[in-house]
Amino acid sequence: MTARQARTLNALALLGCCAVLIEAFWYQLVRGELPCPLCLLQRAAFAAAGVGFTLNLRFGPRPSHYGIALLGAVAGACVAGRQVALHVVPGTGGFGSTLFGLHFYTLALIAFVALIVGVSVLLLDDGVLRADPRADGAGAGRFGSACLLLFLCVVLANAVSTAAECGAGLCADDPTRYEALDSWLGHAGPR
């Protein structure tokens, strides 16, 4: 595998993490479905896995970078698995709406497992770690840089959204409003 191919694969994986986070944001902002604490932790895990791909893009592929992506995905799979287990018994209901007939935590579990399998298959090719990023020019490249910046924006947006929802404390189990933002506006508004 050449450095360019490795870079493109990492950029695509990072784009996949961005797509998942943006899609969750779309449901939050357009359909008003506020994320529960476990949902937020799954988003954080996608960000954790994405950091591994950003490191690969910027500094070239290394085992430690793929390890970071794998650990993030494993943590996310644990959180998503916990939420699936909370709702798996018939009659216990679910949380949030569905996409393709599956709740988002189920889709997240599938995505995390797919990420783990994908990175593991990628690592079967020894060439992926021998690829010298300097061979095709240093840095992430134009596409990789764009993915990197998009990923940073999405993670920062999640930070702002989470702060508005939960403030400095833990989030409500079944959030219905941006508690911290409402509280802040209540204090800052006209009297």
């Binding site: 960000a47 490191l55 990197l148 999640n158 930070a159 989470t162 833990l170």
Partner: protein, 51 residues
């Protein structure tokens, strides 16, 4: 509290963009530890898996 992992991961990405690999990995580790602590804080109820 819940915002801390996102702040840590965002800081990690900023460090990556700035070419500071060590800082990026350190921030990632701290944010990951925070994520796991928060997971532990939210996973307290016993699962009812009696089908």
């Amino acid at each position: 509290m819940m915002v801390l992992p996102f702040v840590g991961f965002a800081g990690s990405v900023i460090a990556v963009l700035g070419g500071r690999r060590g800082v990026a990995v350190g921030l990632w580790l701290a944010a990951m530890a925070g994520t796991l602590v928060l997971f532990g804080a939210h996973a307290t109820a016993t699962l009812r898996l009696d089908f």
